[in-house]
Amino acid sequence: MANYKLEINDIAYEVDVDEGTSLLWVIREHLGLTGTKYGCGIAQCGACTIHIDKTPMRACVLQVQDFSEGQKIRTIEGLSENGDHPLQKAWIASQAPQCGYCQSGQIMQAAALLEENPNPSREEIKSKMNGILCRCGTYLRVIKAIEMVAKNEIPSNS
């Protein structure tokens, strides 16, 4: 066991786990930030997507000791104060989620995409989002939601 300090959503956390422990288990099971999901454990599904210093990464294949030196980690819980990030509003407006399990990953990947490229083409959206699986088949509504934000077309009542 070793003690690690993590900065997640601007909050300082400390956790005692073994070196080599997956960042996903630390975030979910040790710290209780369960919005980030497990789907495959091998960087294939994207359900565990978080931001590390603004870059989208798959938490399941990261190890805790590599991210305890002041890196800024962001999870879905820290994307916005009140669930009112433009993407979250657009997600509601387009009624994107079905079961919802993949959606934290979808939204975190999309947030990183728009920060890098506020006005992506549909092809760019597809290629950047391609790593996030959705078994319920919500892809078209996810695309629609991202395009809503890119074009600043989120209905105000959502």
């Binding site: 786990v17 073994d18 422990t21 997956s22 288990w25 979910r28 099971e29 040790h30 209780g32 930030l33 369960t34 919005g35 980030t36 999901k37 497990y38 789907g39 495959c40 454990g41 091998i42 294939q44 599904c45 359900a47 999870t75 879905i76 819980e77 994307l79 669930g83 979250q88 997600w91 509601i92 009624q95 994107a96 989620p97 079905q98 079961c99 919802g100 399990y101 993949c102 959606q103 934290s104 939204i107 959206i125 597809k126 290629s127 989002m129 391609n130 790593g131 996030i132 699986l133 959705c134 078994r135 319920c136 088949g137 919500t138 892809y139 078209l140 509504r141 996810v142 695309i143 959502s158």
Partner: protein, 723 residues
């Protein structure tokens, strides 16, 4: 919208003030219970199986309880909408919570009349609960009317309701439901409300509107709770190694090493696997990796999934009859007298559910082993307590199920294997709760697949080209798992016959979205195109003639013809294909595809659907089900394949079992909903079976070649193109 959650019977009325209206629960006198008085709740709890469909608060808040699982199909919105519609509740004041899991109270008779069941399967939820929810809502409204009538001392017949208000038009008086709470009183008896006394669908205010789904806000913030997210004090973690040969028995070879492994608390051997419980998830997984297990042979040991079709063909050709599924007219005679007969075989490899949340459950067994609490995402079942009472040897009423959101179901979560496993582990570790965790590898390798199957179809036509006989032999494991969807009730074919012939290989199998409809519609709809092509007829017009006696089915076909601009020529490298599916609702679909002749890759560019599902409760959600169903259909038709070598499942994770990703989605999926006042039918499984046949039919038009083996992987497509 308030956060949804499940309560135990005892807790669920205590969560806030207000009045619970006990209506719609059979065998119980309708009554009101003040939720601000804990003593009174306790008193009622002692006397009755306490239940309520709705809770009213003085401030006007209304909580409606949803009896069905929510796995993305929208029950958390559509069922409460039905209740609110009849109650005339102001939807902006409504929040929704899961009901307790008590089928005597919250079950519906939809699966078989006279029984009560809570079971979210077969796209039956809306169909089954349509009348139950509306009647309960109407009874709640009646109690409000009755209370206002006696409060004002006016005849009930002069009162009406509107948006959470009782109104007396004559005197211009009104009182809100919230204000009525302190005057609520129960009538001596409640009218039963037959169908005719409920609202006429054309008067619906809420039903048929595109309101926002109640579960979505918490699904965009990460707050929605799936059972995998449950964390309890002192919770331990359980994992099980089940091997990759179904039915095989394990012998653990390194018990001392595993016992000494860090954090391991207990090794729990099962018939088919070795369980390990540890303090943390990472310790449990690390120990699982170290397990050295000798596996016995099993019934599946000789199974080679890609070579088995030869023996299935023999079974299809044999003289031994199978179980007759449908028989109409005299198909043998029709074949004998035919001017022409057509025969084709259709093959379907194993398919895996791949719900995004791997199986898991959390169970806490009490220290005296006499009761248990279960947190689980389940499609429920015949046994509302999911097999836990048997395992613990305790009465069902001592088991409380806290239903959570399901991270996908698709039929996999209507099997309780994972809940029972968790109960076994939790019993050993009582009173500590145990989270049983299936890794993706566990979930895939020890999956319960849609069975491998072969369909042999023979059709005959007379001298005028009329379809006179249609026979359909299904070979595969699992009866209904491969046999559903063989009926052709909407095609006017005078002589029909279908049978199932068993072939069992020891592989775990299970319902997979739309079940036998997938393989069987693939076969039927491709056969129709084969005949139409032979006769030089347009496949859509050919179907129209066959549907002349089924006006509702025909209307979907006519509509999709228009929607897809069927008759307009597409680009020369593209083609359209059509298919019709009944699965409760009736749907016709058209796809537009192209094929890369170098790589063998098929691309679906567009999909159009016309659907008749009776009364549509929530149109946008029905469209979402069509979109999801089509995408799952494309994924399975083009990519998904479980293969078995020497009985061993060859795929373990998404790098080996690929799902459709965003770059391969169609440009658009357009759904037209045909308006209807008929009893609603399910929509969750109508789209998926359209896809494989529509693609194969488009492929036939485009290339003149027949795709007859699912999935249509690039290698198979190339092989067919070169044939």
């Amino acid at each position: 919208m308030k956060k949804s959650s499940t309560y135990s019977r005892r807790d669920f009325l205590k969560s806030s003030g207000g009045i619970a209206l006990f209506v719609g629960a059979s065998g119980i006198l309708p009554q009101l219970v003040s939720c601000s008085s804990p003593e009174e709740i306790e008193k009622v709890l002692e006397k009755h199986e306490v239940t309520a469909w709705v809770k009213l608060s003085e401030n006007g808040d209304i909580t409606i309880f949803n009896p069905a699982s929510e796995m993305g199909q929208g029950s958390m919105t559509s069922l409460p909408m039905l209740f609110a519609e009849e109650m005339d509740a102001d939807w902006s004041k409504v929040s929704v919570e899961f009901s307790p899991q008590e089928s005597e109270i919250y079950g519906s008779p939809g699966w078989s009349p006279g029984t009560k069941m809570m079971f979210t399967v077969g796209s039956r939820t809306t169909n089954s609960y349509y009348t139950t929810m509306r009647t309960a809502g109407a009874q709640a409204r009646y109690v409000l009317l009755h209370s206002a009538a006696s409060h004002w001392d006016l005849p009930i017949a002069e009162l009406s309701t509107k948006k959470s208000k009782v109104v007396h038009e004559k005197s211009n008086k009104e009182i809100s439901y919230g204000e009525l709470v302190s005057f609520l009183q129960m009538p001596a008896s409640l009218p039963e409300f037959s169908e005719g006394q409920l609202k006429d669908p054309s008067d619906f205010q809420l039903v048929g509107k595109n309101i926002q789904r109640t579960d979505i806000p918490e699904k965009v913030t990460g707050q929605a709770k799936f059972s995998i997210d449950i964390r309890l004090p002192d919770m331990l973690f359980g994992v099980i190694e089940r091997g990759n040969l179904h039915g095989s028995k394990p012998t653990l070879l390194n018990e001392p090493e595993i016992s000494a492994s860090k954090g391991v608390l207990k090794i729990i051997p099962l018939d088919y696997g070795i369980g390990v419980v540890a303090n943390s998830l990472e310790e449990a997984l690390a120990a699982k990796k170290k397990l050295a297990i000798a596996w016995s042979e099993s019934k599946a040991s000789d199974h080679q999934s890609q070579e088995i079709y030869g023996s299935y063909e023999k079974i299809a050709a044999s003289k031994d009859p199978g179980r007759v599924l449908t028989e109409k007219g005299n198909v043998k005679q029709a074949h004998r007298l035919a001017a022409k007969t057509f025969t084709s075989d259709f093959k379907n490899d194993y398919v895996y559910h791949a719900q995004m949340e791997p199986l898991n459950a959390v169970i806490k067994v009490s220290g005296d082993l006499g009761s248990a609490e279960v947190w689980v995402g389940s499609q429920q079942g015949f046994d509302t307590k999911l097999g836990v009472p048997e395992i613990l040897g305790i009465p069902p009423e001592n088991v409380t199920i806290h239903l959570q959101y399901l991270g996908g179901g698709f039929g996999r979560r209507s099997m309780n294997d994972f809940v029972e496993e968790c109960a076994i582990l939790a019993k050993e570790m009582a009173p500590c709760p145990v989270k049983l965790f299936w890794t993706r590898e566990d979930d895939m390798t020890y999956g319960a697949f849609r069975p491998l199957s072969l369909q042999r179809l023979t059709a005959s036509t007379d001298a005028q080209g009329n379809l006179t006989g249609f026979s359909h032999v299904v070979v595969g494991d699992g009866g209904g798992l491969v046999a559903s969807g063989v009926q052709n009730d909407h095609y006017d074919i005078p002589n029909q016959f279908a049978e199932w012939r068993e072939a069992s290989n020891g592989i775990r199998i299970k319902h997979w979205r739309s079940v036998g409809h997938g393989p069987n519609k693939f076969a039927i709809e491709c056969m129709l195109d084969e005949i139409a092509k032979d006769q030089g007829k347009d496949p859509l017009q050919f179907r129209k003639r066959l549907m002349k006696n089924s006006p509702r089915a025909l209307a979907t076909l006519v509509k999709v013809e228009e929607l897809s601009q069927w008759n307009k020529t597409t680009a020369s490298d593209r083609a359209k294909g059509v298919a019709f599916v009944e699965h409760g609702s009736l749907g016709s679909g058209v796809c537009e595809i192209s094929v890369d002749r170098d790589s063998g890759k098929i691309t679906v560019h567009n999909f159009w659907i016309a659907l008749d599902a009776g009364v549509i409760i929530h149109p946008d959600n029905v469209k979402a089900q069509m979109e999801g169903g089509i995408i799952m259909g494309i994924s399975s038709a083009l990519k998904e394949q479980i293969t078995i070598v020497d009985g061993k499942v060859q795929q373990s994770n998404f790098h080996e079992y690929e799902l459709l990703r965003m770059e391969d989605v169609p440009d658009d999926i357009e759904t037209f909903l045909i308006s209807s006042n008929s009893h609603p039918e399910g929509v969750g499984e109508t789209a998926t079976p359209m896809v494989a046949c529509a693609i194969a039919n488009a492929f036939l038009t485009l290339t003149g070649k027949k795709l007859r083996h699912l999935p249509f992987t690039p290698e198979r497509v190339l092989e067919v193109l070169r044939s």
